[in-house]
Subunit: 177 residues, 2 copies
DNA sequence: CAACAAACGTTCGTCTCACTAACGATTTGG
DNA sequence: CCAAATCGTTAGTGAGACGAACGTTTGTTG
């Protein structure tokens, strides 16, 4: 095999046989630099952190999303909540089951439109939401620990801009054709 | 708690019946602001973008990770590649099957340690990796489209700092106890 | 008014991702 | 020499995001 093309023998010097690579995982730069990879890796960590934190108070991300939507915009049908919270409507069923089990929301058939269920947040739900807000504040403090307040703002703003851009282009791409 | 039991009737005025919420999904602020949510939503978009782009050239994220590791640090066992690329060793099997099917890597038993397979990148694999790099450059251009070069640097640097922090604390948390 | 289209809640299934558990084979260290 | 660790592999779990299809109900239109 005359390695005519790209004749790079790995210049980063593979650890050969002696001492392989204990301790320092040595991830290639091109990998580490990719924003997509950074995003998914960090999101994995973030999700783990948030999920574990919420599990300690018998909650999930979705619970917070739904309760917050209810608190801010008032009661709504499951489809409405689905749109507001970004939870797929086929997953909303289970979430509302869990919330109803815990008496955090009430689900009653809408008399005006018998296809719908009207979902209402309960007093207990409001208290729980308040608690979740505190828990999430703490968790985000851990999540963003290495950043000072200004950097945290920068970070969330950059994230917001990127997300807005992509949700818009995704929306127009799927409704137009 | 001075405000007895948060008896807030939704002040944001739910759209009631007239015009529900067409067009503008109206996600509550507390939800939209949470960095964890921004991260997971953006990662969903990012993953979709990258996966679709790579699928067009018959590739996956993992392919790139493994090929890049091989190119930069030379051949290695599956376990070594697993540590370098961050792919779980039980998932590495399938990835290497796919790469070997496409003749992008060679997998031969290591005579010095008959537990291991030595994985080597092929000439075809090097060409493919080069192509993938271009494809990924373009895809990241889409991903980071709303940001100017300086902001892109800021963004990846913030991500890197956060990820480093959490991978370190995670590593020490699991090896120490 | 009849007929068709759309929305709603629900169930089921798919795909990806990260990860755990266990196995047989092999190598290493005390 | 024997126990412990490593390696590759298979199988399975639990999120998360999503699509397809259903029966029910509402709306729209000819």
């Amino acid at each position: 095999m005359s390695r005519a093309e790209t004749p790079d023998p790995p210049e980063n010097a593979a650890p050969e046989d002696g001492a392989p690579d204990d301790g320092a995982p040595e991830t290639p730069d091109r990998l580490r630099r990719r924003a997509s990879r950074l995003l998914s890796q960090l999101t994995t960590q973030s999700d783990r952190l948030i999920n574990e934190g919420l599990a300690r108070v018998d909650a999930r991300k979705w619970h917070y999303a739904v309760l917050a939507s209810l608190q801010e915009y008032g009661p709504g049908s499951q489809a409405t909540l689905s749109r507001r919270s970004g939870i797929h409507r086929s997953d909303m069923v289970g979430v509302l089951n869990e919330l109803a089990e815990r008496d955090l929301v009430e689900r009653v058939p809408d008399p005006d439109d018998r296809r719908r269920n009207m979902i209402t947040i309960s007093a207990r739900g409001r208290r729980h939401l308040q608690h979740l807000d505190e828990v999430l504040d703490d968790l985000h403090d851990d999540l963003l620990a290495p950043l000072n307040p200004a950097e945290r703002d920068q970070f969330t703003q950059l994230l917001t801009r990127l997300l807005d851009h992509h949700t818009r282009t995704a929306r127009t791409a799927r409704s137009a054709p």
